[in-house]
């Protein structure tokens, strides 16, 4: 094998420079700021600050609210990932069966992905807002005490559905691609052996989709953890009584609403550690163990 070496000594650095600048400006600089802030206690306007060491961290972990928020995040992420992936898989297998108008159906399915999180949140809020939502009105008329403004479980259900709805398109795309990669000969052989649809799905399609499913699981978890702020902010503001306050929302709430910047910075440092751990986990285990097609 021929080894490829750049003859120019400086050019390679120039080529990676844009990426390095981006990383420094958008990651290292803010991350170092967060680390610095997490060791300080400061008034809201930044007029006075004192060094407090790890006090902000110990305050977070000795506070039940943080653990509660962690629990909320786990429930929210698992529910969102399962719901969006389940529905997407169902739709993808259904779309696979459609003969005429395949392209049209697929295009329609992808549209929600283009909707901004805050807009998706507002959309669901308008439908289910207890004061003015059309669907909320229908629910109440049918004897369901629909009141997500007070009922924490209903509020959680609402943000999960809104967050999952937005992600279905993305999952759908990957599942459709995954389904197309499954050799038709396997399915035909199984059909000749007398395996019906459901059996073919569970014994052939589902195992062969495993790499796609695993990849989507990681992507969806990260999405639910970090990209759903807009939805939660638009629909519940983390309420009622902190029932939908995820870790990311808590960083915002403590920092920008309660103006406790030290604690907020410490929480974002913890989140950073979680992201690093998740990424390392994905590279170390998921990438190695799961066999892609």
């Amino acid at each position: 094998m021929q080894s490829v070496v750049f003859p120019n000594k400086i050019l390679p650095y120039f080529l990676v420079l844009p990426q390095i600048i981006l990383t420094v400006v958008f990651f290292f600089w803010p991350a170092s700021q967060a680390l610095y802030q997490s060791a300080m206690r400061e008034d809201p306007f930044g007029l006075q600050s004192t060094f407090v060491g790890f006090a902000n961290f110990s305050a977070i972990f000795s506070n039940g609210e943080y653990l509660h928020s962690l629990q909320v995040t786990v429930v929210f992420s698992v529910a969102t990932a399962l719901l969006s992936m389940g529905v997407a898989l169902l739709l993808a297998t259904a779309a696979d069966l459609v003969v005429r108008g395949k392209g049209f159906y697929r295009t329609m399915m992808i549209i929600p992905y283009a909707v901004a999180p805050a807009v998706a949140g507002m959309l669901w809020l308008f439908m289910f807002n207890p004061a003015m939502g059309t669907l909320a009105y229908l629910l109440r008329r049918n004897g369901i005490a629909w009141d997500p403004v007070l009922d924490g479980n209903q509020a959680m259900a609402l943000v999960v559905v809104a967050a999952a709805w937005k992600q279905i398109s993305y999952n759908f795309l990957f599942f459709v691609a995954g389904l197309q990669a499954i050799p038709k000969s396997l399915l035909e052989a199984a059909a000749i052996d007398g395996a019906r649809g459901a059996r073919r799905f569970w014994t052939i399609i589902f195992p062969l989709l495993a790499p796609t499913t695993f990849f989507l699981l990681v992507v969806n978890t990260v999405y639910a953890f970090f990209d759903t702020f807009g939805i939660i902010h638009a629909v519940t503001h983390g309420g009622p009584a902190k029932a939908t306050e995820t870790l990311v929302y808590k960083v915002y709430n403590d920092g920008f609403v309660n103006l406790n910047l030290g604690s907020s910075a410490a929480q974002s440092v913890v989140l950073m550690v979680i992201v690093i751990a998740l990424t390392a986990f994905q590279f170390r285990f998921v990438e190695r163990r799961v066999h892609y097609g």
């Binding site: 004061a131 003015m132 007070l150 924490g152 309420g239 009584a241 902190k242 920008f256 406790n260």
Partner: protein, 434 residues
């Protein structure tokens, strides 16, 4: 050569154009007004900009009251603050704690060559927005006081007296039950701002202590006291009514107004500043005084709510001059009188109040003087001067969380208030750096 000349000419022209456009100093005004009140803001800016050429007020909507405050703080930290920011009542303590970040309005007016005369302004309002030594810190733009609104059609359907709204809380609760049981409306009563109306004003109006140190006006180290029996009884009544939907919760700020304007609920307690939106719906509404509990000397007086305009430090002299001009413009009697009459907010100057009194506005619009009388009726006591905490927005959020759990039936009023006081005290101690 020709091209160089042309481009030089073009550059000079554009410079000239730019400098003529720059002649008017732009002054940013960040605010949180929506609906009918937003139209008033736009109208005022337009009138001021047309009245002179040197300054241009640019109103920028920044979201809800807390969001506007946070945007202002973030902008200050980034060294890009607006000249003027509208800060709600609960944020006053936050701004007052930030010496060095703001310029007192009294100083701004002096810089602009105007004399600041305290006696021209309504005493209750000026006192709330001043330092203990009497220096006015912010300009009281929209002051309000909570009042009771009721739907006259629903009252008639329920067999209640549509000419006489309930006066005390027990009467409100009875009327709400009657509305619900008679089927006149799906919900009897709702309230916006459980914190400001049902806690802070409840305390002042009934002359009960909300917290130590004159509710924070006497000093920053405050021990909250809103878990006394008086509050427990009030909130337990509301929690009981919430069980069958006689009371409905709308949200933490003014969301409940929609429950009233959509005729879902028959009675609403809300800021007098909410009037503009209620008038707009064209519904058959009536206004009453904020309810109270019977007792000696009650009702006392309500405390100002709404918002005031603060001026950030570090701006140019031209901007301060323009800001002073604008505040002077806002203080004019005809502007104040009009603001009061269209929006339901209180007039800020005595002259505007007197002019409205002289006109036939109050006889023609019954109930519109109520919010002023509530606030000015009696000299305030230690319990009714106001509430000022360095982190009142945070304490209000804590209260809201406990109220939400209570209204969802997860805890009783006593537990909710005890927890709110305990968490609130801890937050105050942390905020004042102890």
């Amino acid at each position: 050569m020709k091209t160089i000349l042309t481009s030089a000419f073009a550059a000079t022209t554009s410079l000239l154009l730019a400098s003529s456009a720059m002649a008017a100093t732009e002054i940013q005004w960040w605010h949180a007004m929506t609906g009918a009140n937003n139209e008033v803001v736009e109208q005022l800016a337009k009138e001021f900009n047309e009245s002179q050429k040197d300054y241009k007020i640019l109103p920028v909507f920044k979201g809800s009251y807390p969001e506007t405050l946070n945007a202002g703080i973030a902008a200050f930290r980034a060294k890009q603050p607006p000249a003027i920011i509208q800060v709600f009542d609960a944020g006053s303590g936050v701004m007052m704690g930030a010496q060095g970040a703001i310029v007192p309005v009294a100083d701004v007016l002096t810089k602009g060559g105007f004399k600041f005369d305290k006696s021209q302004y309504l005493p209750g309002i000026v006192a709330y927005y001043s330092k203990p030594d009497g220096t006015m810190l912010s300009f009281p733009y929209n002051s309000s006081s909570p009042i009771l609104y009721y739907n006259k059609d629903i009252f008639q359907k329920a067999g209640l007296d549509a000419a006489n709204p309930p006066k005390t809380w027990p009467q409100v609760f009875e009327a709400a039950k009657k509305i619900k049981t008679s089927g006149a409306a799906p919900c009897g009563f709702t309230s916006t701002w459980l914190t400001w109306i049902q806690t802070e004003n409840l305390a002042a109006w009934n002359n009960v202590s909300y917290g130590s140190n004159e509710n924070g006006l006497g000093g920053v180290d405050v021990k909250l006291a809103f878990n006394s029996d008086f509050f427990v009884k009030h909130f337990q009544s509301i929690a009981d009514l919430a069980k069958d939907g006689t009371f409905r919760y709308g949200g933490r700020t003014s969301e409940a107004k929609q429950l009233f304007t959509s005729a879902e609920c028959g009675i609403l307690t809300e800021s007098s500043g909410g009037l503009g939106d209620i008038i707009k719906t064209g519904m058959n509404y009536g206004i009453g005084q904020l309810p109270y509990y019977e007792g000696e000397g009650r009702p006392q007086n309500t405390i100002p709510g709404g918002a005031s305009l603060w001026v950030f430090a570090g701006k140019s002299d031209a901007e301060y001059k323009g800001t002073a001009e604008f505040f002077n413009f806002l203080s004019q009697t005809k502007i104040q009188a009009r603001l009061h009459q269209v929006s339901g907010y209180l007039p800020v100057t005595m002259a505007a109040y007197d002019e409205t009194k002289k006109s036939d506005f109050y006889p023609k619009n019954p109930g519109r003087e109520t919010p002023i009388q509530q606030m000015m009726g009696k000299p305030p006591t230690a319990n009714s001067k106001g509430v000022r905490l360095v982190n009142l927005p945070q304490v209000r959020d804590i209260m809201n969380e406990e109220f939400e759990s209570m209204l969802a039936g997860k805890q009783d009023a006593k537990t909710a208030l005890n927890k709110a006081v305990e968490r609130g005290n801890a937050a105050i101690q942390q905020a004042i750096g102890k």
